[in-house]
């Protein structure tokens, strides 16, 4: 009963205290697909993601009602860091829906204009001036937004002293950007300026975990939980607890200030750990992450060691010896790498998964058009129409075509003289997460599958291999589909069963693929390489050595009439890929999630007849 009453009270009081206009609410998720190109077009970094931000705490004067309701303590402001632009997940500031929408676009333009904030008050004004000058349409919107937002700012009559001076300065800066150069000091935070960008929160996040035990990502995490957060990401902070012993509370619980304070308590065994974890997370400003990654399900894995033969894929044959290029000595090391073809013999045949069916269907439709591209074949002994050129030639130079009577042309299917081998990087780095519920390998797997569906209907012969390596003694070359087998559920099963392997000895992978591709009788041979980073291995195969060897392998491929093309999701790819594949020999996909749909498109662009 108490709980019920509490709930009603909470609902009532928050509703009374709310200053939002729920009926005019605009959600970020609905607009983000437009905001992203908008951001890029105005000069924003192409790789950045549009994301929701969690509310930030402001030290503000709250009205009694708001204090009672416990609202308005935190507010959504817009900010960006190296990786993403963070917007409020929803805007309901204005009673007019159009204005709320315009606010998103305005902030996007500002984010593109102002990638780094040095001085919050000055930089924002300067960026606004810059936009107003160059984009007249946005200027109109800006003044409309200012006019709408000024009445929402604190009442000037109720302020006095420093606070009044500060508020006056802000309002002036909004009305006439550039007219105020410094912000008068006053206690507390100024009321949030929703038309401006804020600096990113100060807590830095380092990505590398200290833990030597690398735990496998929890596969069965309940995805439903993520929906509650609606795209708003929490700030995260790494806490260095690696040196400390398990914590013990030696002070009164009452003296704990907030939820966010770190409690040095190791509780991996606590029961029901995931009960409403996301609910608790919503209440936190900051999620403190442990550097020890032994959370919840700690599984011990001997990193990078070979799996036992029973659990491994089936090794086919004794392997092939391949050379490697040593750039320091400028010699080809003969028979340096042992390449082991592997076959996932325990992968069960599987159909296209439900989630990909729709898009696979569309791709099949689109690519089957390639199959039926009919053209006129000239100088045919039989055909539907006379080939006039051939006839006239027969009359003008009878000697040349004495015995031939090929005077017809026929409309027939064009055989595309093209075979393609897709070589996918299955190294350990593909195990990293790209978002809450997907890893790079998942995206690569989906991409391969959709690519195969598309190519299968195009009629072009194709093969798919994956590779990873552990030094030169074992370069694993996973057969997913070879040229001669038909594309069936067995191949689909193997593709769906791909898992991250070890390291990336790219040179060996390319050399073997060239050997396979060379045997194809087609006129054109395309080697598509799907990668997620630089070539590297745990021996000396890293840095320049790996790059040089890969480059050598690429050049050999070109000399043998094979066209290599690299598709990478590594955002730094522009730095080294031109050296490896040439200016037009690669493509960087900055939005990894789009790879599955982009890959077939890239293939079309690469090989399209027109």
């Amino acid at each position: 009963m108490e709980e019920l009453v509490g709930e009603y009270w909470h609902r009532l009081i928050t509703k009374r205290a709310a200053t939002d206009h729920a009926e005019a609410q605009v959600n970020l998720v609905d607009l983000s697909s437009q905001l992203a190109p908008f951001y890029r077009a105005l000069g924003g970094a192409p790789g950045k993601v549009i994301e929701g931000a969690s509310p930030r705490e402001f030290k503000l004067h709250r009205r009694l009602l708001q204090r009672v309701a416990g609202t308005h303590r935190r507010t959504n402001v817009t900010w960006q860091d190296e990786r993403s632009v963070r917007f409020a997940p929803r805007h309901a500031l204005f009673p007019d829906k159009q204005l709320n929408e315009d606010l998103y676009f305005w902030l996007t333009a500002l984010a593109a204009q102002l990638p780094h904030i040095n001085h919050w008050f000055v930089d924002n004004q300067n960026a606004v001036i810059e936009i107003l000058k160059s984009r007249p349409g946005l200027a109109k919107k800006y003044y409309a937004l200012v006019a709408a937002i000024l009445p929402m700012r604190p009442d000037l009559d109720k302020l006095e002293g420093h606070k009044l001076a500060r508020e006056l300065a802000i309002q002036q800066a909004l009305k006439e950007p550039g007219s105020v150069t410094s912000l008068p000091k006053a206690s507390g935070d100024p009321f949030p300026i929703f038309l401006w960008l804020y600096p990113e929160p100060i807590h830095g996040v380092s990505i590398a975990a200290d833990d030597e035990l690398d735990d496998a990502p929890v596969e069965n995490q309940n995805n439903e939980k993520h929906e509650q957060q609606k795209g708003a990401r929490k700030d995260a902070k790494r806490n260095d607890d690696s040196k400390e012993t398990d914590g013990l509370l030696i002070f009164m619980l009452e003296s704990l200030f907030s939820w966010t304070e770190q409690v040095d308590l190791d509780r991996p065994q606590e029961e029901d750990v995931d009960v409403d974890v996301s609910g608790a997370a919503d209440d936190l400003d900051l999620i403190t992450l442990s550097r020890q990654r032994r959370a919840q399900s700690s599984s011990i894995k001997f990193d990078m060691d070979l799996p036992s033969p029973q659990h491994d894929d089936l090794a086919v044959g004794d392997g092939t010896l391949l050379p490697e290029w040593d750039y320091k000595r400028s010699i080809m090391l003969k028979d340096h790498c042992l390449l082991q073809p592997m076959l996932a013999d325990d992968a069960l045949p599987a159909p296209v998964p439900e989630r990909l069916k729709q898009i696979a269907y569309q791709l099949r439709n689109r690519f089957s058009a390639l199959n039926f591209q009919a053209t006129w074949q000239r100088r045919q002994p039989f055909g539907t129409e006379l080939d006039l050129d051939a006839c006239i030639e027969g009359i003008t130079s009878p000697n040349k075509y004495e015995d031939k009577q090929d005077f017809y042309k026929s409309h027939s299917k064009n055989k595309r003289e093209l075979s393609c081998l897709l070589l996918a990087d299955l190294s350990m780095s593909t195990d990293s997460a790209i978002n809450a519920h997907e890893r790079v390998i998942d995206v690569i797997r989906d991409s391969i599958l959709l690519f195969a569906e598309a190519l299968n209907s195009s009629g072009d012969p194709f093969a798919i291999y994956g590779f990873s390596s552990i030094k030169n003694k074992q370069v694993r070359y996973n057969l997913l589909k070879n040229f001669s087998e038909p594309y069936t559920d067995a191949a689909r099963g193997r593709i769906l069963a791909v898992k991250p392997g070890y390291y990336t000895r790219m040179g060996a992978g390319i050399r073997q693929s060239v050997e396979v591709l060379k045997l194809q009788p087609t006129h054109k041979r395309l080697l598509l390489i799907l990668s997620d980073g630089k070539p590297n291995d745990i021996d000396h195969y890293e840095g320049r050595y790996g790059i040089e060897d890969t480059r050598k392998a690429v050049m050999e491929a070109k000399q043998q009439g094979i066209q290599p093309f690299c598709i990478t999701i590594d955002e730094d790819g522009n730095e080294y890929l031109p050296y490896l594949f040439g200016d037009h020999g690669y493509a960087v996909v900055s939005d990894t999630a789009r790879l599955p749909t982009l890959l077939p498109k890239l293939y079309l662009n690469l090989t399209g007849q027109s």
Binding site: S33, Q34, L35, A36, P37, F38, R40, A41, L42, G43, P46, F105, A109, S134, R135, P136, G137, L138, K141, T375, W376, D389, I392, E393, I395, T396, S397, L418, K524, L526, Q563, F565, H584, G585, A587, S590, D591, N605, L606, T607, G608, Q609, S610
Partner: protein, 261 residues
């Protein structure tokens, strides 16, 4: 800045006029690379005017064979007779033979280009057995767009290195404003807006758009505006719809248009 030859305007991006003139003087063939609608064809037409040579333009397509360039036998009531193709005419009479998008043509076309593009400057016609020696004013110019990254198409290195090469790109914003103004007679302010919008759209290449907004498309938009169409509508029709088929991308482009018009 704009130079005019026979009522034809051309605003040089760099020193392309000089390079082309020298190549013409030395009877060397020229290769022009550049993205769609950046002014390749306009440049060649302008240079032909300037040098006072006739121009034979062939837009290459994937069914274009050597026969289409060289010529063929035709029939009339008296029997068959030989008809020169555009290339042969240029070789005989003197003039610029411009093969637009040459990589689209069939492979056998490059074979007839080889003897023409080195010191021999001859065109052997195997059907008639004739070997046409090129007129002193004959000049071969080819163009293509290297940005398509198509493995099926591309010039063979042995073909490419017979030519004097020039790379074109979209002109700088200041120059583009001048070009748009001149071509469409639109006022400078609108032209400036269009060019800035074009610059924004070019940043979307490779991410959201397959091809960048060309100078040509901006000129078309300006022409539509100049003839009285409401600017926003002109941009929707000429830019948003012409550049993409994806609904979301079109919506984003429309948003961009709204910040200028």
């Amino acid at each position: 800045m704009t130079t005019t030859a026979n009522n034809m305007n051309y605003l040089p991006q760099q020193n392309e006029v000089e390079i082309f003139s020298h190549a013409a003087e030395n009877k060397l063939p020229v290769l022009i690379k550049g993205p769609t609608g950046c002014g390749k064809t306009r440049f060649v037409e302008y240079m032909a005017n300037k040098l006072g040579r006739e121009i034979f333009t062939v837009a290459c397509h994937d069914d274009l064979t050597a026969t289409d360039l060289v010529g063929r036998h035709l029939m009339n009531k008296d029997g068959t007779y030989w008809q020169d193709g555009p290339l042969t005419r240029a070789v005989r009479e003197g003039g610029i033979c411009y093969l637009d998008e040459v990589v689209e043509a069939r492979k056998d076309t490059t074979v007839v280009l080889h003897p023409l593009s080195d010191h021999r400057r001859v065109l052997p016609i195997d059907r008639t057995g004739e070997e046409v020696i090129a007129h002193p004013d004959f000049m071969l110019v080819i163009s293509y767009n290297p940005g398509y990254q198509n493995v099926m198409k591309g010039l063979k290195p042995s073909t490419r290195q017979r030519f004097v090469g020039m790379a074109f790109d979209y002109p700088s914003p200041e120059r583009e404003v001048v070009i748009v103004c001149q071509e469409s007679n639109i006022d400078k302010e609108t032209a400036q807006k269009l060019v800035t919008l074009g610059g924004d759209l070019r940043r979307l290449k490779d991410h959201d758009l397959e091809e960048a907004a060309s100078t040509r498309i901006l000129i078309y938009t300006a022409m539509m505006i100049n003839s009285g169409l409401e600017p926003k509508q002109a941009c929707y029709a000429c830019l948003a719809q012409a550049l993409s088929d994806e609904t979301e991308t079109i919506l984003a482009i429309e948003r961009l248009i709204q910040i200028y018009f």
